[in-house]
């Protein structure tokens, strides 16, 4: 099947803060051209995923590798006069530009939206920055930790007796990239109707605010500030504290008390199991799960039920719990380790893992796939992240009609 975004051309000037946006659009079939300065993105050389040792691979950054799959790559110094001209020629033939420079950086070198839209009124331009183009923090520095902190989401995560904590892998950049992809798609749709492009401003920090779920409504309408509670949480079906993460014999599982119809089956099955093992007392067996209303149940009752559940979980391995849950359609799932994901039968059955050739490494590497499935088959990673300047010839010669001599001259002068 043809790709959904064939004929859509995107120029990608981003660094690690913004590069996931182009990845999504490339996955949907757009031609995304990653533009790097001739010495390459710094991010190519960042150490591998947080918290682990350096590994002896030429292009070390795994975040970079992941976010730049399905993209073409050219080198170009857009701040040089020749480079600027070439970029403008590319903009003439492009549909969107994505960038994540500090605010006004591109405008200061004469490549801001007002200039680019004169060259191509249909161009959609999206800027991704930590705090956006406007507001009191517009010139603040901020990477993942700071954006998580300022969004309100981090405050809600972690143990009560420790500092608030972030997810140990750059979630803010992924959220921002996804919001930017939404913005660009909306703008491209509008363009079909109106013929006009427009400018999109995405703040990485803002993209995490929705992740706080009902924390804002709780403050505004209930005057309650939700707080981190480790393996527990308030603020869902009721006001009581409910447990979400549970240890078992080895490893951890994820489940929580849910009321009404949605939880009745799970609660009945778990009670049955507890009964089989002599853990269920009369109190537990006497609960009518179909009318069980979390919103009005006391904390004492909840703690009592959870106490019994913990006893059950501690008697079984993660595997045993997850298998029986799957059989009986219980709302209970593993707290997956990375290895658990790799071994997960559902992902396997969905052909989720992609095998991607890496010419420079001389091998095929397994990648997690794309969660968008069209007419029964998932979108695929067609190519790995580009080697530096991989598509220079194709774009400069093939598309812009530059001669080999011109290309050599530009290269010598550090423009390409």
């Amino acid at each position: 099947m043809d790709s959904l975004l064939q004929d859509v051309r995107i120029l990608d000037l981003t660094d690690e803060k913004g590069q996931f946006c182009g990845r999504i659009l490339g996955d949907l079939g757009a031609e995304v051209i990653k533009i790097e300065k001739p010495s390459g993105d710094e991010a190519r050389y960042l150490s591998s995923v947080e918290g682990n040792e350096e590994v002896p691979y030429p292009e070390k950054s795994l975040l970079w590798l992941f976010c730049n799959a399905n993209k073409k790559g050219i080198t170009l110094d857009v701040e040089r006069k020749d480079g600027k001209q070439i970029f403008e020629q590319l903009v003439e033939k492009a549909d969107a530009v994505i960038e994540s420079f500090p605010r006004n950086h591109l405008a200061n070198v004469g490549l801001g939206y007002s200039h680019l839209s004169k060259i191509n009124p249909r161009i959609v331009m999206c800027s991704i920055t930590p705090f956006g183009q406007t507001g009191p923090y517009k010139d603040y520095e901020g990477s993942d930790l700071v954006c998580s902190a300022m969004s309100g989401w981090m405050y809600l995560c972690g143990d009560t007796d420790r500092p608030p904590v972030r997810v140990s892998i750059h979630q803010s950049f992924f959220n921002a990239g996804a919001e930017a992809a939404v913005g660009i798609m909306v703008a491209l749709f509008y363009r079909e109707v109106s013929g006009q492009g427009q400018y999109i401003d995405v703040a990485i920090r803002d993209s995490l605010i929705p992740c706080s779920l009902n924390a804002i409504p709780f403050w505004v309408t209930d005057n309650t500030i939700l707080k981190r509670q480790g393996s527990w949480r308030t603020g869902l079906s009721g006001y009581a504290r409910l447990r979400y993460t549970w240890p078992c014999k080895e490893g951890f599982i994820s489940t929580s008390l849910v009321g009404g119809d949605a939880g009745a089956r799970t609660n009945r099955e778990l009670t049955k199991w507890m009964d089989e093992e002599g853990i269920a007392d009369d109190f537990l067996k006497g609960i009518d799960w179909s009318s069980f209303d979390i919103a009005t149940t006391t904390q004492d009752t909840i703690d009592r039920i959870e106490g019994s559940l913990l006893k059950l979980f501690m008697k079984h391995t993660k595997k045993e719990l997850v298998e029986r849950a799957a059989e009986r359609k219980i709302l209970l799932y593993p707290v997956s380790t990375v290895k658990d994901l790799v071994d997960n039968p559902q992902l396997e059955a969905r052909a989720f893992w992609n095998r991607v050739e890496h010419p420079q490494l001389g091998k095929v590497v397994t990648y997690p796939g794309i969660p968008i499935n069209i007419f029964g088959s998932s979108l695929k990673i067609r190519k790995c992240a580009p080697l530096l300047g991989k598509d220079n010839e194709g774009i400069y010669k093939g598309r812009l009609g530059l001669t080999s001599k011109q290309i050599a001259l530009l290269k010598e002068n550090g423009v390409i």
Binding site: Q133, G135, W153, A181, F189, W219, A295
Partner: protein, 408 residues
Amino acid sequence: MQEGALKSLRVADFTWAIAGPWITTTLAAFGATVVRIESTQQVCLLRTTAPFKDRRPGLNRSCYYAFLNSNKFDMSLALKHSKGVELAKKVVAWADVVVESFTPGVMDGFGLGYEELKKIKPDIIMVSASGQGQSGPYAKNPTTGLQLVGLSGFTNLTGWPDRDPVQPFGAYTDFITPRLGVAATIAALLYRNKTKKGVRIDLSQFEAGVYFLGPALLHYFLNNQELSRQGNSSSHMVPHGVYRCKGEDRWIAIEVSSDTEWQSFCEVLGNPEWASDPKFSTVVSRKGHEVELDRLIGAHTLDFIGEELMARLQASGVSCGVVKNSQDVYEESNYNIRLQSLFWMLKHDEIGIVPHLGQVAKLSKTPAEPTLPSPCLGQHTEYVCKEILGISDEEFIGLFNDGVFGLY
């Protein structure tokens, strides 16, 4: 009011909970006309989710449902009733896109599966967002975002190396999926404009979560290493952590990524003696003494008010930010125009003025804008039937008496 980018788009919304509805709410925010179909018997999970206005539960009193469902028309329909399905099909005939988030098989069970919808409209775009996708051995197992966060691997990667994992707050995958869903839906619309063909889109919330953990999987496959939780530390920045400030549960996050930044950081802190200790002079040596360094910094930042320290550090080029709570974030809208346009204060029919979540992406010509407060259950049933579907008064009364609109 500026023009809605998606104003020509019509959406039949069969979603429930969070992941599905956020797709349609996003489309509606940018101008699409969305008709949401809800059951009075299998009530949307969010309608029973706190906080409730005045702490009184009620199907139309959830401030969280209100937060996430602006700009939509709402129709109640009993899809187990044959006439209910007929009406639903009329909505599909009117629509460009159908979005649903039931367990796979449910739409088929109603007689509203893709093959049936294609008969009504051959070029329909149907988008399904389920927990584990439409296929595979576990497709029909029940899930909610709360378990998917653990299943997808996020929980294991959140927390401290010496402690049990903690679930990142919320049904996190519930927000990952819809952004991807919106992008895919609009891509399908552009495709259809060109080719006149419909598209069937199947989104797995589980897979969407794993997608956002891509680098961790690559670390496993390329380097044969399993990423584990790191607290707040970083492999290439130090100091990098969250430190206590003056006041109750007040913290500041600080990230230092260069020697210059380290100098500035020490200066703003008042050049404490320990800062000039040679063991903290280089990145490598700071990393080697990270635990001690974090302790020293934390003892020092205790003397500062977080917001003041942040302002001074940022002015010196040090990346940092206070750990805001929900009150901080909401009150920021008093002095940050970006958040004013993110929290729409709209008057809900039953619970009065409550916040409604807007859109993060700020578009210059066609920004997201509020048009309707979130609906009460079935608030627009009559409107949708008569004005959108062209049903006569008599027919409407007949359907109502037949119980097609559910039980109230």
